[in-house]
Symmetry: C2
Subunit: 295 residues, 2 copies
C-alpha cells in the first residue's frame, strides 16, 4: 500500500518547530538561577520584554548582571524581587510563561495558573507540563537554527549543533541580510499583500537565490541591489552577477577564493605529499640502479 | 564598556525558536491549497489532531489524499467541507490556528477571532499577524532541525537546510534514539522529578554522550544499555565502549570504517594522483638524462 502512495509517508512522533515572534511582547520568567539565565538570554535575543520574578538571594550572577548592569538589557527587564505569589503575577498581556525553579509544587501551581489564563507555558525539566521545549540554538545574524532531539538528549542536541556551526559557510550572514534587503525593496516597488503579486515576488526572489551563490549574494552593495531590481524584476528575468555588479573578473576571483573549501585544500595537500612520495620512490630506485650499474 | 562585560553581549533582533508539543492536541487549519498541504504534513508529524476547514473544490490533491486515502492520517483529521464561518469554528480546546487562504479579509477575521480566544495563530504570508513563523525543517527520526531566516528569505533557509542535511552523520538517528533509551531506563532506575537527583542523572548521561562517539552510541544493543547502566551509573563512572560491549577490535574497526569521512577519501585521492605525477616527472627526467648520457 505505502509504496503506491502518491505522497511521502508522514513521519509521526515529532514536534512542531516554530520561530516564535516575541518582539516587545511580555514574557514572565519565574526563577533566577542558572537555567533562568539561559532562558533570559534567549528571550532578550528575541526582543521580548521580560518580567523576572525571583528573590535576590540565590540569584545567578548573569541574571543579576542583566538586571542591574547590562545597559540595554536592563531597559527590557522588569524585576520583581520576591517569589511567585499567584495568578495575579500573570498580567493580561503576558505572551508566555517560563518557570525555572527547583520547587516542583510551586512549578505546578504556576503551570495551572498559566493554563487557566490560556498562556503558553514551559516548566523547566518537567516535559509533561510544557507546551513547548527549548532546543540548542545557532545564531548567525538573521539566521537562527534550532536543534531538538524531542527530549531524547540535550547533550546530543548540543553536539549536533556544533556540527552544524562547522558546516555553515562564513558569508551566510551577509547573504541572508542581502536577500532580506532585496525582498524588502521589492515589496516597496511592488506593494500589496498575498495573492498573485505576492507569489510573483516570491518566485523571482527564489530564482535569484537559486541562480546566485551565497558568496555572490553576500558581496552585494546596497546600490547594486537597486541595479538587480532594475535589470531583473523590472525586465522579468534573473540577471547574472557579472551583469549587475560589473565585477566579472575580480569578483569571480574573490568568489572563487572564498569558495575554496577545506576539502579542496585536502586534495591539494594529498597531491603535494603524493608527489614528494612518488619522486622519492623513483629516485631511490634509480639510485639503486646506478649502484647496480657500477657493480 | 562592552569589552569589560562579564557576560557575552545579547544579539538582539531574533526570534525564539521552540519545539512546540502538539501530541493529541487540536489544531485548526483553514484552507486546503498547496500551503495548507505543507502545514498539514508539519502538523501530522507532530502527532496533532487536525481540523481542516476548506471546501472540497480547489482542494490540493495531497490534502485530499490525507483526508480520504491515507489510512493513518485520516484518523487524525476532521474535515469541515466549507469555508470558515466564525469564532464558533475555534473550539474551546484549540491549541493553535493556522490559516492558508488567499482571501486577506477572511484571514484577518480568523486572526481576530483567534486572538480574542487567546489561541496562538499564524496567517500564511502575513508576518504582522503571526505569533510564530515556520522554518525549513530537517527530520532524522527523533532529531529535528529548524532553519529560520527571520523572514529574510525562505529560499535561503531551504538552501541552508540542504547544507545541514549534508553535514549530519548517517548514524545520528540511531545515536539519538539510544541516548533517549538510556535516559528513559535511567529514569526507571532512579525515578523522581527535578532537584539534585535530576541533575545527577543529567550529568551522567551528558558525560557518556561526551565520552562516546555518535557511532558508538548508535551501535548499542538494548541489553548493552543495561550493561552501561550497571557498569556506569551504579558505579558512578563512565565505562568505555569496549568494556560495555566487549567489541573492542571489531567495533573499533567498524566505528573507524563508519567514521571515514569524505575528506579522508579526498586526501587519499590527492595522494594517489600526486604519487603518479611525482613518478612521471622523475622518470621523464631520468629518461632525458639517459638520452643526454648517450649523446
Amino acid at each position: 500500500m505505502e509504496n503506491n502512495a502518491p505522497f511521502a509517508p508522514i513521519k509521526y512522533g515529532g514536534c512542531l518547530p516554530l520561530a516564535w515572534q516575541l518582539k516587545d511582547r511580555r514574557v514572565v520568567l519565574v526563577g533566577g538561577g542558572q537555567v533562568a539565565a539561559g532562558r533570559l538570554t534567549n528571550l532578550l535575543q528575541a526582543d521580548a520584554l521580560v518580567t523576572i520574578i525571583a528573590p535576590s538571594d540565590s540569584m545567578h550572577s548573569e541574571v543579576h548582571y542583566r538586571i542591574c548592569d547590562d545597559e540595554t538589557a536592563k531597559t527590557r527587564i522588569t524585576w520583581v524581587n520576591r517569589k511567585y505569589v499567584g495568578a495575579s503575577d500573570l498580567d493580561e498581556g503576558t505572551a508566555m510563561v517560563l518557570t525555572a525553579i527547583d520547587d516542583h509544587e510551586e512549578s505546578l501551581q504556576i503551570w495551572r495558573d498559566a493554563k487557566a489564563a490560556k498562556i503558553p507555558v514551559n516548566v523547566a525539566d518537567v516535559p509533561p507540563n510544557c507546551d513547548f521545549y527549548f532546543g540548542s540554538l545557532v545564531r548567525r545574524g538573521p539566521l537562527q537554527v534550532m536543534v531538538s532531539t524531542n527530549g531524547r538528549g540535550p547533550k546530543l542536541a548540543s553536539l549536533v549543533k556544533d556540527k552544524i556551526e562547522e558546516a555553515l559557510p562564513d558569508h551566510i550572514e551577509a547573504a541572508i541580510e542581502n536577500a532580506g534587503k532585496l525582498r524588502a525593496r521589492l515589496r516597496e516597488r511592488a506593494p500589496g499583500v498575498g495573492g498573485k503579486l505576492g507569489q510573483k515576488r516570491m518566485k523571482w526572489v527564489t530564482d535569484v537565490c537559486e541562480a546566485w551563490s551565497f558568496a555572490q549574494l553576500a558581496s552585494l552593495e546596497d546600490e547594486e541591489i537597486g541595479v538587480l531590481l532594475d535589470e531583473g524584476w523590472e525586465k522579468k528575468r534573473v540577471p547574472t552577477y557579472e551583469k549587475v555588479t560589473g565585477r566579472k573578473s575580480t569578483s569571480s576571483w574573490r568568489v572563487s577564493i572564498t569558495n575554496v573549501r577545506f576539502a579542496d585544500l585536502q586534495i591539494l595537500f594529498g597531491f603535494g605529499v603524493g608527489t614528494l612520495a612518488g619522486m622519492i620512490v623513483c629516485l631511490t630506485l634509480v639510485h639503486r640502479k646506478q649502484i647496480f650499474d657500477i657493480w
